[in-house]
Amino acid sequence: MMSLLLDYQYFPITKPGKGAGGKTGSWRVIKPVIDLSKCIGCKACFMFCPESTIVPKGGKVTVDYEYCKGCGVCSNVCPVKAISMVSET
């Protein structure tokens, strides 16, 4: 990336990041809740989450609920059944 940019120069590029378009909204009915005492930090849920909402943190994992659609894939792949799907309604 060029550092020499003049004040009138803009370029039509952006850095990849979270988009407002992918946010879940109010329609999710179940959400994954992680029991951290059971979690062994294998990151299988991180690998399988289709929305990349599992965030590895300190050897274990947390969920980004802003983008989580509540599909339950993480709960299904967890080898130690640490993730339970909890109703939100």
Binding site: M1, L5, L6, Y8, P12, T14
Partner: protein
């Protein structure tokens, strides 16, 4: 430097070779085909290292060139007429992305009906796309402007693609004496490529994504400002070219003038027929008519300053257009008329679809103009056009 008798297309191919272009996206269309034929020949003989990508359409030719340019390679393509129109969408993508690219357009009439001869309508119809647009008047200029185009395009104050126009057949296929610079001179003049951003897996960027209205408009304004600012930058690089490469043609101005300083009347035109106009002006000068010519070398950026300096205060200005904006007159005429206020401006549309307009026609047109013609737009036919044998549905019945 060596002198060689080559055609305009060969001159452009030589310029591409001298600029050390990394990739050429090619699709043949008359009359630019021999540019890529020449490049392929050079490649076969090992003179150049350019990657030649053969694609299935002009749209893909520009897309391939665009992609290579995004990856940081100096990229080139050439087209004409229907091909340029087919490219139209990608032409806007390249300018909107602010990626340096150079294209040569061998100008040619646009169908329907089918016509392969020369006019400028394909070129002028791209004038709102955000490209810098130069127009050559001889093969020497085609070579020089193509090399300068890379320099201008890759300047960090510009970062816009550049299009170099060249009259189809009249320049592209006619051989003249061309001064070819040495590789060392061009290496000295043209530094390695610079561009605003590259596609790089280590530092990913998103290109071609959705922008909200305000952001989009801000980007549009930045293209406008970069294009306006490029005026001085073109002069600067032109002067540098004169100093480092060849002083033969003066590139310190955006437009070229001929016997204009003391002229009462001025003629404005663009392209190869400037030569005929110059001869006509010499003849009229001998008859005591003070007339001069301004040849537009850069359609974009349009130098209001130079046009005003050169044309304001004249008794009359005649614009001779080889293209047309239907129902409105020639594009050059519209530009000139909107730039100068106190001077009378008249328009002639002629030479469309390869209609030959020579020195004698120019003498006729210019002297008619000095006598005073009334109509705003005149379509001039050098030869009398007989009753056209055109079939209409009624004839078929």
């Amino acid at each position: 430097m060596i002198r060689k008798i080559i055609s305009g297309n060969e001159a452009v191919a030589t310029a591409v070779k001298l600029a050390r272009v990394g990739l050429t996206g090619i699709y043949p269309i008359t009359p630019q085909t021999s540019i890529i034929e020449k490049l392929a020949e050079m490649k076969a003989q090992g003179e150049i290292q350019t990657e030649i990508v053969r694609v299935e359409s002009e749209h893909s030719a520009m897309a391939a060139t665009y992609g290579a340019a995004l990856a940081g390679i100096r990229a080139f393509t050439a087209t004409a007429s229907q091909g340029l129109l087919y490219m139209h969408e990608m032409v806007w993508w390249v300018a909107g992305s602010r990626v340096p690219v150079v294209m040569v357009v061998g100008t040619r009439a646009v169908g329907a009906p089918w016509n392969i001869w020369n006019e400028h309508t394909d070129f002028t119809s791209e004038r709102d796309s955000g490209w810098i647009m130069a127009f050559a008047s001889n093969p020497q200029e085609a070579l020089d402007l193509t090399i300068q185009a890379f320099r201008i395009s890759e300047d960090e104050r510009v970062f816009l693609p550049v299009m170099v126009g060249m009259d189809g057949f009249i320049l592209s296929h006619t051989k003249t004496n061309v001064l070819i610079p040495d590789q060392e001179q061009i290496d000295d003049y043209l530094p390695p490529r610079r561009q605003p951003y590259v596609i790089d897996p280590e530092d990913p960027v998103e290109i071609g994504n959705m922008f909200p209205p305000e952001g989009y408009m801000k980007l549009r304004e930045s293209i406008h400002l970069a294009l306006k600012n490029s005026e001085d930058i073109i002069r600067q690089h032109g002067r540098e070219y004169n100093k480092k490469v060849s002083p033969m043609i003066d590139y310190s101005t955006l437009n070229s003038s001929y016997r204009l300083e003391d002229a009462d009347y001025a003629v404005v035109l663009m392209g190869a027929w400037a030569g005929d106009a110059m001869e006509a002006i010499d003849v009229l000068r001998e008859k005591g008519i003070k007339i001069g010519m301004l040849r537009v070398r850069y359609l974009r950026p349009w130098s209001e300053k130079e046009i005003k300096e050169n044309l304001e205060g004249k008794k009359g200005v005649l614009v001779v257009d080889r293209s047309t904006s239907f129902g409105r007159g020639g594009p050059l005429y519209i530009e000139v008329k909107s730039t100068i206020q106190d001077t009378e401006v008249k328009d002639i549309v002629t030479g469309l679809g390869g209609v030959t307009v020579g020195k004698n026609d120019m003498i006729y047109l210019f002297s008619k103009f000095v006598e005073g013609i009334k109509e705003d737009v005149t379509w001039y036919y050098p030869k009398e056009v007989g009753k056209l044998d055109i079939r209409t549905p009624r004839d078929i019945e």
